[in-house]
């Protein structure tokens, strides 16, 4: 089973991602821990709601947080896909899911992300990171702590530095 970083630890990834290469919204969602595309969730919400505790939804980089909106709180996991590491839309998506839509489950970044983005991803509310194959997760863990202090308010620190300076 592939591994990922979750809550500062390396753990086994027991979720399966559906429809990365595209699929019908009406596709049969297999049993087990499955992360479905937003369109599948939207099309089959009535049936899927019953198993929302073992269900995740993934958003592509051009799908904004508001498209999932309050539904997020029903889900066990929301994943945000990064098609390329220069595409930073997912950083805003994550903050909005956490700060505006109150999502408190597992928020996963996956796709083309790399070590030097982990600190910022974490600050924006991601707590799990599925890195590209071949990534040395042990080494990557350290970068979640690249900075020991920050200026901005974000998901890991609700107060900006100016409200905390002593």
């Amino acid at each position: 089973m592939p591994k990922l970083i979750k809550d500062f630890e390396i753990v086994e990834d027991n979720w399966q991602v559906l429809g990365l290469d595209g699929c019908e919204a009406s596709i049969d969602v297999p049993a087990g821990n499955v992360i479905v595309p937003l369109a599948v969730w939207q099309a089959q919400k009535d049936q899927l709601q019953a198993r929302a505790q073992t269900l995740g939804v993934w958003l592509n980089s051009d799908q904004m947080a508001e498209e999932l909106g309050d539904d997020a709180t029903q889900l066990a996991l929301v994943a945000v896909y990064f098609p390329g590491f220069m595409d930073g839309r997912g950083f805003s998506t994550a903050r909005l899911l956490r700060e505006r839509y109150g999502f408190s489950g597992e928020l996963r970044a996956f796709g083309d992300i790399f070590r030097d983005q982990l600190f910022f991803l974490k600050r924006c509310g991601f707590n799990s990171f599925s890195m590209p194959e071949g990534t040395d997760l042990e080494k990557n863990l350290a970068s979640l702590q690249d900075f020991s202090e920050t200026y901005q308010a974000a998901c890991d620190q609700p107060l900006p530095l100016f409200r905390r300076r002593s």
């Binding site: 904004m64 590491f85 220069m86 595409d87 930073g88 839309r89 950083f91 805003s92 998506t93 903050r95 505006r100 790399f114 030097d116 983005q117 600190f119 910022f120 991803l121 600050r123 924006c124 690249d146 900075f147 020991s148 202090e149 920050t150 200026y151 901005q152 308010a153 974000a154 609700p158 107060l159 900006p160 530095l161 100016f162 409200r163 300076r165």
Partner: protein, 554 residues
Amino acid sequence: MYQYDDYDRKIISDRVTQFRNQTERYLAGELTEEQFLPLRLQNGLYIQRLAPMLRVNVPYGMLSARQLRKLAHIARHYDKGYCHVSTRQNIQFNWPELEEVPDILAELAEVEMHATQSSGNCIRNVTSDQFAGVSSDEIVDPRPYCEIIRQWSSFHPEFAFLPRKFKIAVTGAASDRAAVQVHDIGLEVVKNQAGDIGFRVLVGGGLGRTPVIGSLINEFLPEQHLLSYLEAILRVYNQFGRRDNKYKARIKILVKAMGAEAFAAKVNAEFEHLRDGAITLTAEEVARVARFFPQPSYVSVDESAVESSVQQLAEQNPAFGKWLKRNVRAHKQAGYAAVTLSLKPTGVAPGDVTDAQLDAIADLAESFSFGEVRTTHEQNIVLADVRKDQLFDLWQAAKKQGFATPNIGTLTDLICCPGGDFCSLANAKSIPIAEAIQRQFDNLDYLYDLGDLDLNISGCMNACGHHHVGHIGILGVDKKGQEFYQVQLGGNAGSDAALGSVLGPAFTADVMPQIIQTLIDVYVAKRVEGERFIDTYRRIGIAPFKEQVYAQAD
């Protein structure tokens, strides 16, 4: 100026460690070229035509003597003994070794400087008015807000991978010297009728290949909402700015595509969510930061006595008189003046300074201006608080170092990017064109007769030399491997900002001085009493210039 506390020091030192680690991993082959690219850019490091180029932030242009000496040391030790003042008030080193850049960043951190986000698709160094705090037309000193923005934008986790670069400029004066209308966000600090401080917010201005004047989206943003509103703008841009084409990725394209009103509505909707949240500025924080920009301890000077002795010296020394006229500027404090050190003597690349000159500027700052200077977007250096009775001594000292060329605001005080001699983006050289034009106009009396004139040169359409907003703008273009120069007229960077219009087909380098001469001849022939070049242009239009230039070319 702002002084770091333990928090600031910790953050910058973490950054140095992080970049050292990234550089080591890159050199060891653990990071790909593609991955290292945004990391090095966000630390100011470009790979240029001949060597890497390191751009060091000078936050809103402020430098202390200690920082100047550190820059001199870096120029000497890590570079070829000089550096360059950029058109965004930053300092650029042209010859550092990649392996040594982490050491340079560590040296900079010692004097509370950094190169964070001086390049890359992120929020860049905030720029401002070089006469902030000393100008008589100032409404509010913009520097505390600049520093607040610097801290908010540094390592902002959400906005490190924007569609494209993002530049913010702030002015607090009636007359805009920070070119706020041609920035991604331009802020004018203002007061409302009740005397409360707020901001006029312009968005979507910019130069580059699609020059645009910014749109006003908020007439009065109350002070405390500054960061929430900026965060709202950036969030809308991060989500909706184009990412499919880097030439259409700046916020100006988004604002144009949506329309300024629709864009403002979207920002306001986002702002309503953020309003009154944790990043709302507190009066304590504004006051804390403002305390770093106190009025210097001015001594009381007998203004009329000193004025008459200065005038007497000017009569005895016409060269001093010329310098007074062009390089010395009125000050809000009686008995003081702001002095611009010219980095535009003929024969030196505009904005270049040597290590020895940097040390000399530090000495001048300590002797004459409370130990501080400002860099300007016109690529000069300002001593902002000089006692008028010391102007003559300063002039003599500045002359020795080659800073007293009395050409500020004239045609030879031109803005010029590094161009094809250094920059890998350039289509054409710009420095030799600047020099040829300076040589054509080497008669000072003639230059003064021509008066205030902005001539700006860019070596490519990325417009680092701000050619769109020069009264005369020159753009280097490449036609089948040959360098040509397009001329634009009528641009302006001030409060009445305007973009220049293209004169006509481009010219080869060798005729450029003559082309500029012809344009000037038309101006001199057509001007009426007291008109600047830009005034005459606005009155008579482009046609008379065009006719004359192309008639001669035929």
